[in-house]
Symmetry: C2
Subunit: 395 residues, 2 copies
């Protein structure tokens, strides 16, 4: 019998993979300026430091780092990571924190614990497309929550909860991917209250929190949660290195235990060498100065991008984020985003068409622009190219 | 509203975690001789080599190792790992191999691609308890295939396929965990033919293949598969290091693509530093001499354990594996395994009661004994303690 796609679970059949990963292949063309990815700047990465720490932890722990470890994580890292998150206002201890293979895995384990095909999840729209794919892979039915410049509109979210009885609400409250928008303080409190009122788990995805370039730090939604309804997810990807794949989940003990059980059979534990390196990085006290340095760089890059919008045609709107890695732009209603994208690639500048971030599609006049991977002259040149392309296509 | 376990998916609620992990906690007691784990010997691990390779790859690849990588794996490793598996008689190329965060993840991604709650999976009984848990976490219904000293009985498997229409068959063909039994050549061919005849995917879990101490190497089931029904899973855990969490899946391109899509949202990719270290390890040509050395040690440890059975009460049966890490013992029918286990812990020797490896439970008179983690004098002493305990309890 020939192999057939009938072997796949029905909800997995239509999932064809990340659109961004296809776009990133175009970014390899010579001369291409890429606003498409979500990577840190190469100058934010420290291979020499990582190499030294790797040698040091292998000398210190020896074979213990190469044997099987505990699923619930390398004990010293659970402590140091909890302390790091406490500094950012997250309520946690070593016992309520689970190191994961990236925060992607934290979300995957939460979905694995909770979702069966047909379950409803509320999410922002637009939202992180990796999360859209993750939720669909568990057969979840996604319902979009209306948002404005302060994030999720709480009254609308409450109506949707009453109408659809979701099990889970997925929110990126700080410098949201893809819009750069930050959920206001009042709404953070209100969402925490909503979760508790209706028994809905909130997945609070917060990987950009410490990349703030303006405004005042806001407490996590999780900090207002008294009854364990918020699962907080953090990541070292944007701060230290995405390639090392280390993130963390913070959850109430019952939820965390179920996620640990899921992790036992997903990857047993995250690689100990990686956990020990990040632990050593934190314990050396490197983080504050490192974050200060990359924030200063990213702030200048963001400013350069924002300035570039001046040359865009009238009617273009864009967000003015206080941090993170992305700016979101909306061309005049009816602009043909695919035509803009194709012409932009021709002109040597790449971005991600915003439509990919909407669970329901549409919104072809939107675009996500990343500023962290380009030097300032490249940002200026790329924005000039984009302005030209858009003026041409939208004429 | 108080947080409640009602938020969990129904099939996740009864899953309470790995029994072995609880037993391993007892093994930390002073003086305890442990036959319970499945770890490599500490003397098989090479922290100095790993530290050197880590520095070398970070110097060679720089920031590229710290940025996001491709979900389908670090390209040099896909090549070197495919070449390594070719040497073991597995049909694959860089393009049909997916590096995973342990072979546990390979199986998890296969389940994610294929299984929805209620689907049937055939498995050996007893089988690897991590796999039992993984299958249950996707809501699969497990049906045990009868086995004998040559592994799965093919005619019985065929009857079960006709009766239950499974999507998947999970098999550990070489030095099986927990029994140490190896599937015969004829049955390997027959299972491959069965998969193709009925359109059942075989998950061939083969992490011990290169730990052979006697007998002749057998081709993988996958080597007889002409139509892509076998997914082959390998691991560097037993050869280089379990703590580094690196394994691989080999599958037909359509299946592999769906597993890559699952991996995009599970952990995006396995840590690049780990992939690069294992790649460098393979490219330095370290594996043949390393495997020869650990095989020589493990062979002596296995022999010491097998000799220890001479002092066991009459009526005890045990396997005589040609490789791997485990020996399986059956006490006389009706022996109270829990009483033996408790008395053994009191006497300072630990093992895993065999009942945990049966999807349906029962078989309280069985035990899994690992020999790789103890030096020969400890194996001799541990077997003596066990013989005493069993004679006492089964009297």
């Amino acid at each position: 019998m020939k192999f057939t796609e009938d072997v796949f679970a029905p909800h997995m059949r239509p999932i064809t993979g990340s659109a961004i990963r296809e776009i990133l292949k175009l970014c390899g063309r010579p001369g291409m300026i890429s606003f498409a990815g979500g990577n840190p700047s190469n100058s934010a990465l420290e291979p020499d430091v990582i190499a030294r720490l790797s040698s040091e932890v292998l000398a210190k722990y020896g074979t213990a780092l190469l044997q099987y470890g505990a699923t619930d994580g390398f004990a010293p890292l659970r402590e140091s990571a909890a302390e790091f998150l406490n500094g950012s206002g997250v309520k946690c201890t070593a016992d309520t924190l689970l190191p994961c293979t990236g925060s992607s895995q934290a979300f995957d384990l939460l979905l694995k614990a909770m979702i069966e095909p047909g379950d409803v999840i509320l999410c922002e729209s637009p939202t992180f497309l990796g999360a859209i794919q993750a939720m669909r892979e568990y057969g979840a039915r996604l319902i979009s929550m209306p948002t404005d410049s302060e994030g999720v509109i709480v009254e609308a979210a409450e109506e949707l909860i009453r109408a659809h009885h979701p099990k889970l609400m997925y929110v990126i409250p700080t410098f949201q991917n893809p819009t750069g928008i930050t959920l206001s303080l009042e709404r953070r409190k209100a969402l925490a209250a909503l979760a508790s009122k209706y028994g809905v788990v909130i997945a609070e995805d917060d990987p950009y929190r410490d990349l703030r370039y303006a405004g005042t730090e806001l407490p996590a939604i999780q900090s207002f949660d008294e009854e364990g309804w918020v699962v907080y997810m953090s990541s070292f990807s944007k701060y230290i290195s995405p390639g090392m794949r280390l993130g963390a989940a913070v959850a109430n003990p019952v939820m965390l235990r179920k996620m640990v059980i899921g992790k036992q059979s997903t990857d047993v534990h995250s690689p100990l060498l990686i956990q020990a390196i990040i632990d050593a990085y934190l314990r050396e006290g490197r983080m504050p100065a490192h974050l200060a340095r990359i924030r200063a760089d990213y702030r200048r890059q963001l400013d350069a991008m924002l300035e570039g919008f001046a040359a865009f045609p009238a009617g273009t709107k864009h967000t003015v984020p206080e941090g993170g890695l992305f700016v979101w732009a909306e061309l005049p209603e009816g602009a043909d985003g695919m035509a803009v994208f194709n012409a932009a690639i021709e002109a040597g500048v790449a971005f991600v068409p915003g439509t990919h971030f909407y669970p329901e599609g549409g919104h072809e006049n939107t675009m996500r622009l990343n500023f962290s991977m380009c030097e300032i002259p490249a940002i200026q040149e790329g924005m000039k190219r984009l302005a030209g392309v858009i003026s041409e296509v939208c004429r």
